[in-house]
């Protein structure tokens, strides 16, 4: 089996597992046995894939951050190496899923949509915040180092605590809040084409937290709203359908001590945003709006 290319090996694996289920001892056998068995097979598989790597078959080497405060032996963070059979178009997330399913079921990370929509799989990949599902392995240098987002507390392996990020997002009232609604119950709230175009990019945020993690101001000032929340504020403050009062409200939120003026235009957030939102540009525009609001010479 080890002489076959990984692709075929992969296709064969369902058949393998059928064999194994047949040879598995009866149901009353303790679960521990099954687990040990699985571990053994994982180790064997890993060894085979390691061997494949040595023979220059297409595999990719990933190094994954491991940490679990609840398990002895994982309390001291470390990196685990996995050699994953490579298929064309494979993403970082695909590699992680393979490593988890085939080698180590305890490997923990968030993911859901696999198409850059849900925002749950932002990792620190080779030194940059990226979505696992949006990052091609073929674009990265090996070994691919995959770590949890910096500046957020690590819960386990690649899972970080997002609560603080969500709090900052909530702090800017991230929902449409017009002063008045149209009369008819089902009447649309129309927006001009130009206005839609203006806020278009800012509406694309998927709450992944990549920008927040990349920002060294947010790292140093725990109360800083951060790029994503400021972008949210921009999205609604610039929406002409919201009334004057609400817009003023929003400007007051973003010009407070831990708002836009904390931004030092390092462009880190703009560089990492997987949805290409021009975050720095939006923050700078909010700064100018805040100045215009307070300086009235005209």
């Amino acid at each position: 089996m080890s002489t076959q290319p990984p692709q075929q090996e992969h296709e064969e694996s369902p058949a393998d597992s059928v064999d194994e289920t047949e040879s598995t001892p009866p149901a009353q056998q303790r679960r521990e046995d099954a687990k040990a068995d699985k571990r053994g097979r994982d180790a064997q598989r890993q060894a085979e894939d390691d061997a494949a790597a040595k023979r220059d078959e297409p595999t990719r080497h990933i190094k994954v951050f491991r940490y679990d405060p609840e398990i002895e032996g994982k309390q001291e963070p470390r990196f685990d190496d996995f050699h994953v059979p490579f298929t064309k178009g494979m993403t970082v997330l695909d590699a992680l899923i393979y490593a988890r399913d085939e080698y180590d079921p305890s490997l923990t990370f968030r993911h859901s949509c696999r198409q850059a929509v849900c925002g749950s799989d932002a990792f620190f990949v080779n030194g940059e915040q990226r979505l696992g599902c949006q990052t091609q392995l073929s674009d990265l240098n090996e070994p691919v180092r995959i770590e949890p987002l910096p500046h957020q507390e690590v819960v386990k392996d690649l899972v970080v605590d997002m609560d603080h990020f969500y709090e900052e997002m909530e702090a800017v009232d991230p929902y449409f809040d017009p002063d008045e609604t149209p009369d008819g119950e089902l009447a649309e709230q129309r927006q001009s084409r130009a206005n839609r175009e203006k806020i278009k990019m800012s509406t694309r945020c998927i709450w992944c937290g990549a920008c927040f993690s990349s920002c060294n101001i947010a790292a140093g000032d725990n109360q800083y709203l951060g790029p994503a929340a400021l972008n949210k504020a921009y999205r609604f403050a610039m929406d002409e359908r919201e009334g004057e009062a609400k817009t003023q409200d929003r400007l007051e939120t973003i010009e407070q001590e831990h708002g836009v003026w904390r931004c030092q235009t390092q462009f880190s957030c703009t560089n990492v945003c997987p949805k290409d939102i021009p975050l720095t540009e939006h923050i700078q525009e909010l700064k100018r709006e805040a100045v215009k609001k307070n300086l009235k010479f005209w």
Binding site: P77, G127, Q264, T265, S268, E281, Q284
Partner: protein
């Protein structure tokens, strides 16, 4: 979350190799700004030696032997001071060029080329600094 592991340097300057243009621009701008402030105070201290010099004899002044002139001449005769002057020029030029870049950033002009304008500031600073070396070092040896 008290159990959570603090990743220390992973989250700080241990990552300097991965910094991008905008981050370097920020670090250099802070650094050069504070060097300029430091220079400002040193500069004032040196200039202050002109205060006692003003009340010295006309003859001493004419002979260029007043305390202000002798201090300046002594300083300028030191090679380190000449080298520091080149450094000061480099720091000032970078701060000014990047300062202009930041003013454009504040106005929201050309944000897509912010990295290129940072590299341009660096290259121009280098060129101006190199071109200044003959002037600053002349007669120091």
């Amino acid at each position: 979350m008290s159990q959570s592991y603090n990743r220390g340097l992973i989250e700080d300057f241990g990552r300097w190799r991965e910094f991008s243009a905008g981050m370097w621009a920020w670090i250099f701008h802070k650094f050069t700004g504070w060097v300029l402030v430091g220079y400002l105070f040193t500069h004032i201290a040196v200039l202050s030696t002109a205060i006692p010099a003003s009340s010295q004899d006309a003859a001493v002044l004419a002979a260029n032997e007043d305390i202000y002139t002798t201090t300046i001449v002594a300083l300028e005769s030191l090679l380190v001071v000449r080298i520091l002057e080149v450094g000061l020029l480099a720091v000032a030029v970078f701060h000014i060029l990047n300062g202009l870049r930041l003013l454009f950033v504040d106005l929201g002009i050309g944000l897509e080329s912010q990295d290129k304008s940072f590299y341009a500031s660096l290259i121009l600073t280098g060129a101006i600094t190199v071109a200044s070396v003959p002037t600053f070092i002349a007669g120091a040896f």
